[in-house]
Symmetry: C2
Subunit: 190 residues, 2 copies
C-alpha cells in the first residue's frame, strides 16, 4: 500500500524509538511490525535484516558527527569557541534524531559486520575532541586538570542529551546551546 521509500523511513524511525525504550536485543521483529501496523514478514520487503536496521540508524548519525567535528577543528577560532561549537553540534543532531542518538550510544555493540567501522569513527571523533582540549590547555584557555577527566565529563553530558531533549516539547535550541555551554565551560557555582 505505502511506497517502499516512505515505509522504509517509517520502519527505521519506529525501530529507533523501540531500541531506545528496550534496547536492540529486546526488540523483536514482531514488536516492530506491530508498531508499524503490518506483519513481521512484510518488513522484509523494505529491509534485509534486523541487523541492517541497526546499522543504518547508527551510521546515518555517526558520519554526521565525524564530518561536523572536522569542520569545527578547521575553524580559526579559540578553544572556547570550538567547545561551544561542539555543544551546538550535539544539541542540533540530537534534536533532529533523539532516538537514533540512543541507538548510537547504547546499541553500537550489537553491530556485526560494521562494528570495526563504527569504532574507527568513534575513535576519530574522540581524537579530534582531545586535540581541541589539549590545544586549549596549551594556550592557557582551559584549566590544567587531567584532560581525560575533562573530556569524559563534557562528553558524558553531551552523549546523554538524547535522554533529555525529547522531554522538552518546545525546545528553544539557541537558549539551550547558550545555557549548557555556560554550565559546561564556566561551571555551576556563582
Amino acid at each position: 500500500m505505502k511506497q517502499t521509500k516512505d515505509r522504509k523511513a517509517e520502519i527505521l524511525q519506529t525501530a529507533a524509538l523501540l531500541f531506545k525504550q528496550k534496547g536492540y536485543s529486546a526488540v523483536t521483529m514482531r514488536d516492530l511490525a506491530d508498531a508499524v501496523g503490518i506483519k513481521a514478514a512484510s518488513l522484509y520487503n523494505h529491509i534485509n535484516s534486523k541487523q541492517q536496521i541497526l546499522s543504518e540508524i547508527i551510521f546515518a548519525i555517526a558520519e554526521d558527527f565525524t564530518e561536523g567535528i572536522e569542520e569545527i577543528v578547521a575553524q580559526e577560532t579559540n578553544a572556547q569557541a570550538k567547545l561551544k561549537a561542539v555543544v551546538a553540534q550535539h544539541i542540533t543532531l540530537t534534536a533532529d534524531n533523539p532516538y537514533g542518538m540512543a541507538a548510537l550510544n547504547n546499541d553500537w555493540m550489537h553491530l556485526e559486520d560494521r562494528l570495526e567501522y563504527y569504532l574507527k569513527l568513534r575513535n576519530q571523533y574522540e581524537k579530534r575532541f582531545r586535540e581541541i582540549v589539549l590545544n586549549g590547555q596549551q594556550s592557557g584557555q582551559l584549566k590544567n586538570v587531567s584532560h581525560e577527566i575533562l573530556l569524559f565529563s563534557v562528553l558524558s553530558t553531551l552523549r546523554n542529551l538524547y535522554l533529555w531533549i525529547p522531554r522538552k516539547a518546545d525546545l528553544q535550541k539557541e537558549k539551550l546551546i547558550d545555557d549548557l555551554s555556560e554550565i559546561l565551560l564556566q561551571g555551576v557555582v556563582q
Copy 2:
C-alpha cells in the same frame, strides 16, 4: 563443589560484567554459565531466574544511593559542599561496583515485578538532588540557570562514571573526587 554463597556471589558479579558488555537481553544463561565455568542448568541451584539476578544486582546499589543522599541532604553544610559529597558518593559506589552501576543505568527497564520500586527510588533520588540545587540557587551560591539543565548536566556525568572508572587501573579516588568536583562546579575555562 563450591559453596552456594560463594558461587552465588560469583554468578552475580559475572552477570553484571556480561550485562555491561552486551545488555541484559543479549546475555543468555549459557553465556553466563560458560563464563562461570559450569553448565546453564547448574546456575539454578544458586538463583531462581535470570530476572532475579538483574534485580539483585540493581537493588543492592540503588538502595545505597537512596540512603546516601538522605545523609547528604541532612548535613549542615552549604550547597557546594553537598554537591561535592554527591560527587564523592558516585565515585565511591561506582569504584566499588562499576559493572553493577552499568546494569543500574542501562538495564533497569528490564525489571519486571520490581520496576515500580526502582522508579520510586530513582525519583526520590532525583528529588533530593533537586532540593540541593534549588537551595543552592536560592542562597545565591549556584548560578540561576535552569535547574533542570544543571541537574541533567551534573547527573549525566556522574551516571556515566561506570564507563570510565574501570579503565583507570590505579584509581586515585581522592584526587578524582577533587578534580571532578572542580570541573563540574567551577567549569573548565581558566
